[in-house]
């Protein structure tokens, strides 16, 4: 186990040399820097927090920490869900939020270079003004791109376009020693040694600090149609999903959710989004799909054939959103699921397992059966198209220690089942601080040792984001 030194006044003076006026110490540190969106995985104030502006500043700070054996934790917007940016050993927090510039578009190569603190929404909007789409579309639009890359964030459009990893071309990285290096390039293929770029993607700030990113863009689709598809029950809803692909439909997004979670989101938004019954039949669950293409003329027949198939397979009806206003309405409810749950819940934990698409129905049945053994409520929704489920454990009445104990048992059971079905324990949220134990259980000692070995090569003194992903304190 690594031991670290405290940040002394001498070290603070050294840091001041690198970033004059921006070294915030002790009680002056913004309490937000002690946690991410999941405080259940621990809250710990860092000794020092610094809002950085340049790669050189980051390198200067890290070098001082490396020489003095001080832990460094990088954070963006703090929207993570696994305690990934919680400075569990104190030390220095580096915040990238002010490195928020979109630096350059290379439209001939469909690439954009950004600083890591640019928000996902900011890039998405800006790319559209250049006629381009940045396809990764995680629910949290206020996350930073640095954070998205560090967790290999997925999101709604992953079913057609893939996750963040597929859009990372190159990056500038500050290593834990303070050295500055560059991985990747704007080319679309490479067979040039180990892919250090891909090692960085999803490494959750444990291998290096990303200070610049070159991301791939695609031409923005010109037409978009969403379908809202109600079903009498979840089983009918989920069992349709593989059939959508077997019939060669390629939705850009394919989400499923039960009526209860829709209602809590509607309460949060203050208005009803979708009908709760059709011709006197109560809806149990919904699919929400989006198709994109070059024109409405191209999409109309696809949408018609898809709708026909969905109704044949048991949908109660198919509703269409094809105007900007209606598309916005249709996705507003989906985008507020987490906020809706957070608002109504005192104790909250979650997991985001991913299973093969044809196992979603099996898996959900298992979760439903298992949850009855516990005192907390279980709510879930997910990216049906890629088998990624977000499962929330919620309680407003339980004692916290008891809640944690029961959730731990529940998670172990459902993670084990996910692995049995050929899944993985996290689809897009990452391991962070909260899921290290479950990752070890899932991948076994050999793979954990490989990951720890890689960590050691990048970070011999183990100063970067300690206690995360594959390392325990």
């Amino acid at each position: 186990m690594a031991t670290y030194n405290p940040v002394t006044p001498e070290i603070i003076a050294q840091l001041e040399q690198v970033v004059p006026g921006r070294v915030v110490v002790g009680q002056d540190v913004n309490p937000d820097y002690s946690r991410d969106e999941m405080p259940i995985y621990g809250v710990k104030m860092p000794e020092v927090a610094i809002d950085v502006l340049t790669t050189e500043e980051v390198a200067g700070i890290v070098k001082i920490c490396y020489d003095n054996n001080i832990p460094v934790t990088t954070r963006g917007a703090g929207t993570g869900l696994v305690g990934g940016c919680t400075p569990v050993c104190g030390g220095v927090v580096i915040c990238t939020m002010r490195m928020n510039k979109i630096l350059n578009y290379d439209l001939e190569n469909f690439a954009v270079t950004v600083q890591p603190g640019v928000l996902l929404q900011q890039l998405a909007d800006d790319a559209l003004t250049h006629g381009c789409l940045y396809p990764p579309d995680p629910g949290e639009k206020m996350a930073t791109l640095g954070g998205n890359v560090s967790t290999n964030a997925g999101g709604m459009r992953a079913v057609k376009y893939g996750a963040t990893r597929d859009y990372v071309r190159a990056m500038t990285v500050v290593l834990p020693t303070g050295e500055i290096t560059h991985f990747g390039s704007t080319v679309s293929k490479t067979s040039s040694g180990y892919s250090l770029t891909n090692l960085m993607v999803g490494s959750e700030g444990t291998l290096g600090i990303i200070t610049e990113l070159t991301l791939k863009l695609i031409p923005a689709p010109k037409a978009t149609v969403s379908l809202i598809v109600p079903y009498e029950d979840l089983d009918a809803c989920i069992s349709t999903v593989p059939k959508i692909f077997m019939n060669h439909f390629k939705p850009q997004a394919l989400e499923f959710f039960e009526k209860e979670i829709l209602i809590s989101s509607e309460e949060y938004l203050g208005k009803q989004a979708f009908p709760h019954s059709f011709d006197g039949v109560d809806v149990g669950a919904y699919l929400l799909l989006t198709f994109d293409g070059e024109s409405m003329d191209e999409l109309d027949p696809i949408v018609e054939r898809a709708a026909e198939m969905l109704v044949e397979e048991g949908a109660l009806d198919v509703l269409v959103a094809d105007t900007p206003g209606k598309l916005k309405d249709a996705w507003a409810a989906r985008s507020s699921f987490l906020e809706g749950i957070e608002e109504q819940t005192k104790l909250l934990d979650e997991c985001d397992v991913v299973v093969p698409v044809n196992q979603i129905a099996n898996y959900v049945a298992f979760v439903n059966e298992t949850k009855s053994n516990y005192d907390f409520e279980v709510k879930y929704f997910g990216h049906a198209g890629d088998g990624n489920l977000h499962i929330y454990e919620c309680s407003n009445t339980m004692d916290e220690a008891e809640f944690r104990k029961q959730v731990d048992q529940f998670l172990s059971a459902i993670y084990q089942k996910a692995m049995e079905l050929g899944g993985q324990i996290s689809g897009e949220h990452g391991i962070g601080y909260g899921k290290v134990k479950y990752l070890a259980e899932a991948v076994g000692p050999v793979n954990m040792a490989l990951m720890q070995g890689i960590k050691k090569v990048f970070d011999p003194k183990m100063i970067l984001n300690p206690g995360k992903v594959c390392c325990t304190l």
């Binding site: 949408v303 009806d317 198919v318 900007p324 206003g325």
Partner: protein, 268 residues
């Protein structure tokens, strides 16, 4: 019940760009939508039909041929039949000329449909012109009672019961049919069309009414010629800051509070 819903196709923007030279709207590159308030009027009609499936909803629009897209969307959402009033002679009409043409069109649609509409639903105003005049002017031409700023409408006992937005609260106003109602933004959105309705709407025939059909129209009262309004200048008004509402237990306390606030602001 027979309801006629008047809709207008408008550019999808809350701040219309205006050509500084010609003082006309720049519509290039801006997608067209159903005027949102007209969408609420259509939803209000659809909600009456939900309760009474015998209700027939007819939509009427005036505009260029492209406005058929808006009518098809209305058919997909809830309407049973759509009419488009379109003729070069009607272009450039101000609100007076528009309401005059619509008045004649209502009579023609009633003749073609073989019914008398119990109610005419309009949006309170269009988001491009923002005059809020056409609905009330049409009611005057028809000599119908009108209720403006409606949020919801229910039909019972030969009358419409309207939940109406007011300055200091909402009212319920009952009005005998035939009548004209203009709708503002309620707490709900218009419904999503079903795929079946969407497909049917794509194939539906939209009846065009031109000056050849609307033979009662006096050409001197339609189009630019029939429009007394002359636009001298248009501008976006500055946003008003929200006012302060003083609501104490008694009038005396409210006066006291007002006195304190005015003193603090050094105005008295």
């Amino acid at each position: 019940m027979n309801i006629l819903v008047c809709i207008k196709q408008v550019p999808d923007t809350t701040e219309i760009k205006i050509d500084p030279v010609t003082n006309t709207l720049v519509r290039d590159g801006v997608p067209s939508i159903i005027n949102p308030f007209d969408g609420y009027a259509l939803e209000a009609a659809a909600r009456i039909k939900d309760k009474d499936p015998d209700t027939r909803i007819v939509v009427l629009s005036m505009g260029p041929k492209q406005a058929e897209a808006a009518l098809r969307e209305a058919l997909a959402i809830a309407a049973d039949k759509a009419y488009l009033v379109t003729d070069r002679m009607f272009g450039g009409s101000d609100t007076l000329a528009t309401s005059y043409i619509l008045y004649n069109a209502v009579a023609k649609v009633e003749e073609l449909e073989g019914v008398k509409f119990d109610a005419i639903f309009c949006g309170k105003q269009a988001i491009d012109g923002d005059t809020a005049q056409v609905g009330p002017e049409l009611a005057e031409q028809l000599n119908y009672p009108q209720v403006t700023y409606a949020l919801e409408a229910t039909s019972a006992d030969g009358a419409l019961h309207i939940l109406k937005e007011g300055e200091d609260g909402n009212y319920i106003v009952s009005v005998k049919t035939p009548c004209l109602i203009t709708f503002t933004k309620p707490s709900f959105d218009p419904r999503f069309p079903t795929i079946k309705r969407k497909m049917a709407a794509r194939k539906a025939t939209i009846e065009n009414l031109t000056s050849a059909e609307l033979t009662n129209i006096d050409p001197t009262r339609a189009g630019l010629k029939g429009s007394p309004t002359k636009v001298k200048k248009t501008f976006v008004p500055p946003r008003k800051e929200a006012g302060v509402v003083i609501k104490e237990e008694t009038g005396e306390e409210s006066a006291q509070k007002l006195f304190e606030l005015l003193s603090e602001a050094h105005v008295i």
